[in-house]
Symmetry: C2
Subunit: 185 residues, 2 copies
Amino acid sequence: MRPTTSKDEIIDRLFELFRQGGFEGVSLADIGRATGLNKSSLYHYFPGGKTDMAAAVIERARAWAGAAVVEPLGRPGPREARIDAMLEAVEALYQGGRRPCLIASMLIGPPDTGLAAAVGAIVRDWLAALTRALVETGAEPVAAGRAATDALARLQGALVLARALGDRQPFEAALAAVRRDLLAA
Amino acid sequence: MRPTTSKDEIIDRLFELFRQGGFEGVSLADIGRATGLNKSSLYHYFPGGKTDMAAAVIERARAWAGAAVVEPLGRPGPREARIDAMLEAVEALYQGGRRPCLIASMLIGPPDTGLAAAVGAIVRDWLAALTRALVETGAEPVAAGRAATDALARLQGALVLARALGDRQPFEAALAAVRRDLLAA
DNA sequence: GTCTATAACGGGATAGAC
DNA sequence: GTCTATCCCGTTATAGAC
């Protein structure tokens, strides 16, 4: 029997759950409900249990960041094209501010299993790619690093505000501000 | 017998726990350990259980924001003095980026009990106070609103990055950037 | 107000049939 | 690969003694 739900699809569902609830806020029962799979079936795909599931989700996030952010930022071409490619990916991932960030959610409360470290690696890669793109298009290295950090902080923070206020406007505003400042950096 | 730990002290401990672990990441056992109180004693202070405790912590955060942020921002005087008062309070609260923000932590995963709404109200008050301070010191209202939102987003996001990277530098950088832009707004 | 004890439940995880 | 059944533990919460 072919599985009714592919592992990729399962991880997609898990991604949505964890970004909303964080590691502790999602139970295996929730996951069973969202995937239509029994706990035992889940253990078939993820022998390490919930931690494995979270790790798979973070790995998916890393892959996404590589393909949708790091790679476009590294493409040769004018700065504007690179930045816009990144921002379009960001807008899509966060659905214009309606959906929270997995990175932020996963940093809250997971009993120390290296998940936080994996999240940190994603952020590091993103920062490095953005900094490099700015430098390659004429920015001075130290200023580029600052600008990259500031850009990511603004986006992350805007997602927090958007969630707290129940209004995606802060996120849209942040996208515009980030674009302006990155192009001017 | 006078209680060995005052309710205020208990809430302080709870504050630290919840900001680190979020609502779901903190158990009553953790709380018992941190406060030296038995579960039953905790129920004496917080009949509604964990939700009550979280609500008390959020209320404390609201009181803090009122005293350390809203009030200084509303004091008559030059913009610089008001902004610096706010930023000093922020730096102290977050210990220069070493400690996460309760607001962000509490937005992750709490089963819907109005806690998120209470958190949202704090953010709203803060934004309103900051916007008003900017307007009172010469900014145009729409620009002031944007600048206020941007400032809070940067600070929140910088805390996320600082946690992800295990490095408080992003937070210090954000404080400087926020100060510069708010004074120029 | 604080304790011990325990109830009642849900959590993650496993065994084994099919 | 998916299921049913079950285990064990931690969790929230309550009762009642002191």
